[in-house]
Symmetry: C2
Subunit: 123 residues, 2 copies
DNA sequence: TTGCAAATACGAAAGGCTTCGTATATATTT
DNA sequence: AAATATATACGAAGCCTTTCGTATTTGCAA
């Protein structure tokens, strides 16, 4: 069973998914473009995430290099299934409707979604 | 700004959304059909949720009656927007695709969603 | 080789969540 | 009225998350 990362952990995972494996220094720099975070805070987070099995690290060099152990799609799936149960009582269509409808989904987004559905049907 | 309830809080909100306002005793009974929870645990949770503005309570009778202050749709919206940002980098179509595709969305569900989209377009 | 810079390790504080025990108040029953 | 049952109030423990300070190690440069 795949764990549900915290928001702070997701912040870190997002960066690793986008840019690939990197050192604490590199990740902390990227994080600091969003908000102020101390270096040792990032370090500690990544160490804990490694313990938890969210990241792996290569200690070959002095500066360890961290990689995500989960793919973004796996976490997306886990998170969606979780709120599907906890806030949508398992009603998948309702979730999609809410995702589509109750706000500013542009016509472009909607048509993109329609074509995705078409592809899905062809399988 | 609407808060993001915890999983335990959602458990309680789900029950209140489904069955309407009720006392701690009633809610605790329903909760205990799912898992073992002490009465004072439910009580404390509901008191805290009241402080937070998630519930209101009527103290007219000896047994206070609690009601949800947020509608289920509001929370659904908040939760979805949150994971849209944190795990989908704002890509709404991707979220919908994941909700639809990477699993057992039945043909019935898909066609239901298509008709929902049609309605959405007509607005 | 001594000193400075940069990295990791570690501990711990602060705050939030969940759980429950105990105390107290209020009804109900005998 | 006394005993029992049922409610709320309150405090606190245990755990997790986030943050950072300090200590230690490692590499590089003067």
């Amino acid at each position: 069973m795949i764990s549900k990362p915290t928001d702070s952990e997701l912040e870190i995972l997002q960066i690793l998914w986008e840019f690939g494996a990197m050192t604490v220094r590199e990740l902390n720099d990227k994080l600091n473009k969003e908000r102020k975070v101390g270096y040792t805070t990032s370090l500690k987070m990544m160490q804990i995430m490694t313990e938890k099995g969210l990241l792996s690290r290569d200690t070959g060099e002095r500066s360890h290099v961290y990689s995500p152990l989960l793919q973004s799609e796996e976490v997306q799936f886990t998170m969606l299934e979780h709120i599907l149960k906890t806030v949508f009582k398992g009603n998948r269509s309702n979730l999609v409707l809410q995702a589509l409808g109750n706000q500013d989904a542009s016509p472009e987004e909607i048509s993109e979604i329609k074509s995705l559905i078409k592809k899905l049907e062809e399988k």
